[in-house]
């Protein structure tokens, strides 16, 4: 698969450096986790962590 350079038409602000475990991300919502947390976690850990990096689509409508 050909990986194209990042689209130049959409500029991103520089991403601030973050350390693991620091105050990253939205505050944890006060939500009781959906049922079967172990099953969900196992499923999530099987996902290729780089699949979004490789996923390229054409613009649609």
């Amino acid at each position: 698969m050909t990986i194209y350079a990042e689209r130049t038409t959409r500029r991103m602000d520089p991403e601030p450096e973050r350390k693991l475990g620091d105050d990253a991300g939205p505050s944890k919502p006060d939500v009781k986790r959906p049922g079967g947390p172990n099953e969900l976690l196992k499923r999530m850990k099987r996902v290729d962590p780089d699949q979004a990096k490789k996923y390229r689509q054409r613009s649609g409508q």
Partner: protein, 495 residues
């Protein structure tokens, strides 16, 4: 109350093992052509012109994403109709390749539960085609019902609503815009990160980053919040098709129904002159601001330095609608009230009962699941694995995608039943014109030359015959009993 005819069209994302975006048009074409079910391989394009603008002019050309143009440098994919590879399915839906995405346009519906069932039937059609294509190309084909590739390319989930041409366009714009901006708090699909502007960890909308103008007729680039494409698919003197492009691909069926119900309530109020009079200072900025406030109320700046919230805007439509329609005990109004009641309850639950909220709202359901991973693996939201999990939420293969797991666990509102989805894959259960199209494809396909939203063209013993399908008419189930195509045409012209 005039029931509003509506439809959803979804451009699916997909990946084919070993292939890339440069191959996507060829792959989408082959995927659609691999659809294994019975269908009519034709679509009558004659009445379609995406360059007409509701404001009374015609665009010289439509803008195209310059990045996509690079994929096709020096390549030809063949004649446009060959590339589109149109199919009309047994349920009257249109399935085709739109700009490199398999697109499923549902049959027209009045009912919210019907549109949700047909939306799921679309997932089924695409999955069947993808499975068949995977066997041919001997590669893993994955289908994603989402609206972004996280690298700046977006593809849409659009809504169409039949609206009388007599309503002034300014009234529609002013009456709809606040709702289109606000409803994302209930209908947003959620996204890890951003693709334009300041970085964020998680936002409510997949599409907000891609809107750059409040109003125009574009869809591929320079996308607007309010789209003014004038392609009525019906008598242009009587009707417009309100083409809403700022919605998102919902996986929770409740959210699909709310998305449609909230647009319809705004149209109903505009039609009766009862719409709330909000004047947004900047609809594009407001859309993005609401999207980027998953923990707040979503501030919407108004003209004159005042402001409101997404919740107040939604309530300002729903509350008067509930009051005005209370005397209408017909099935359409009753179903609308039921779902609008759900909308009000969810707005209340958003902060007081977030677990309830996350059962019905995609962005919250996905965020809750991904939060679990963040906590367990001690990774920041900026970690690339989070966008991969976001993508996996939208993978629609049964037993594979994260949303599919949530469904199996009973952690989100249930889908339409499997029996209903299988039924809607081949049938239309309302008396809309889609029923006529469905019967024509199912019973008289050999004589059906081509079809569109508004017409059926048959080859009869007396030559070619084009039959109009006015959307305001009802099409009785007795049409199924016609023995010959001539009887069918006669009955259609008599309805």
């Amino acid at each position: 109350m005039r029931p509003i005819l509506a439809g959803l069209d979804t451009e699916y994302g997909f990946s084919v093992e070993g292939r890339g975006a440069e191959d996507q048009i060829d792959d989408a074409k082959a995927l659609v052509r691999s659809y294994p079910g019975e269908c009519l391989p034709s679509w009558d394009e004659r009445s379609e012109n995406p360059r007409n603008d509701l404001r009374g002019f015609r665009l010289g050309s439509l803008s195209r994403d310059p990045e996509d143009a690079k994929f096709d440098e020096g390549r030809s994919h063949g004649p446009a109709s060959e590339v589109r590879s149109d199919r009309v399915l047994l349920n009257g839906a249109r399935f085709y390749n739109d700009h490199g995405h398999p697109e499923y346009a549902t049959p027209e519906t009045w009912s919210l539960s019907e549109i949700a069932a047909h939306d799921r039937a679309g997932d089924l059609a695409v999955l069947r085609a993808a499975a068949a294509y995977g066997e041919t190309c001997r590669g893993d084909v994955r289908v994603y019902k989402n609206n972004t590739d996280f690298h700046g390319a977006s593809y849409g989930t659009h809504e169409s609503y039949l609206v009388p041409r007599s309503i002034p366009i300014d009234n529609l714009v002013n009456g709809l815009m606040p709702m289109l901006v606000a409803r994302q708090v209930l209908c947003g699909a959620g996204k890890v990160g951003s693709e334009q502007g300041a970085r964020c960890d998680y936002q409510i909308s997949q599409r907000a980053d891609f809107f750059s103008e409040p109003i125009n007729a574009e869809t591929l680039f320079r996308r607007p919040v309010f789209n003014t494409r004038d392609e009525p698919h019906a008598d242009p003197a009587k009707w417009i098709r309100l083409h809403v492009i700022c919605g998102e691909s919902n996986l929770v069926s409740t959210a699909t129904k709310l998305k449609v119900a909230l647009a319809k309530v705004a149209i109903h109020l505009v039609e009766t002159g009862n719409q709330p009079m909000w004047r947004l200072a900047d609809p594009v900025r407001a859309f993005k601001a609401v999207s980027r406030d998953p923990d707040g109320e979503g501030r919407i700046d108004l003209e004159g330095r005042s402001w409101t919230t997404a919740r107040q805007v939604i309530e300002s439509y729903v509350v008067p609608f509930l009051a005005c329609s209370s005397g209408d005990t017909g099935p359409y109004a009753t179903e609308m009230r039921e779902h609008l009641g759900t909308a009000i309850a969810l707005l209340e639950a958003r902060f007081s009962d977030p677990e309830r909220f996350a059962r019905s709202v995609d962005w919250a359901a996905k965020r809750a699941v991904l939060s679990q991973y963040v906590d367990s693996e001690r990774v920041p939201w900026s970690d690339p694995s989070l966008q991969s999990l976001d993508l996996e939420y939208h993978r629609i293969d049964k037993g594979e995608g994260l949303f599919q797991v949530l469904l199996e666990l009973g952690a989100v509102d249930p889908d339409p039943t499997e029996d209903d989805v299988l039924d809607r894959a081949i049938n239309v259960r309302e008396a809309t014109r889609a029923r006529a199209r469905s019967i024509a494809v199912t019973r008289f396909r050999d004589q059906l030359a081509t079809a569109s939203w508004g017409t059926l063209t048959f080859n009869t013993r007396l030559g070619e015959k084009c039959v109009q399908l006015p959307p305001e008419k009802t099409y009785p189930v007795t049409l199924e009993r016609c023995a010959t195509v001539e009887d069918f045409i006669m009955e259609l012209e008599r309805t």
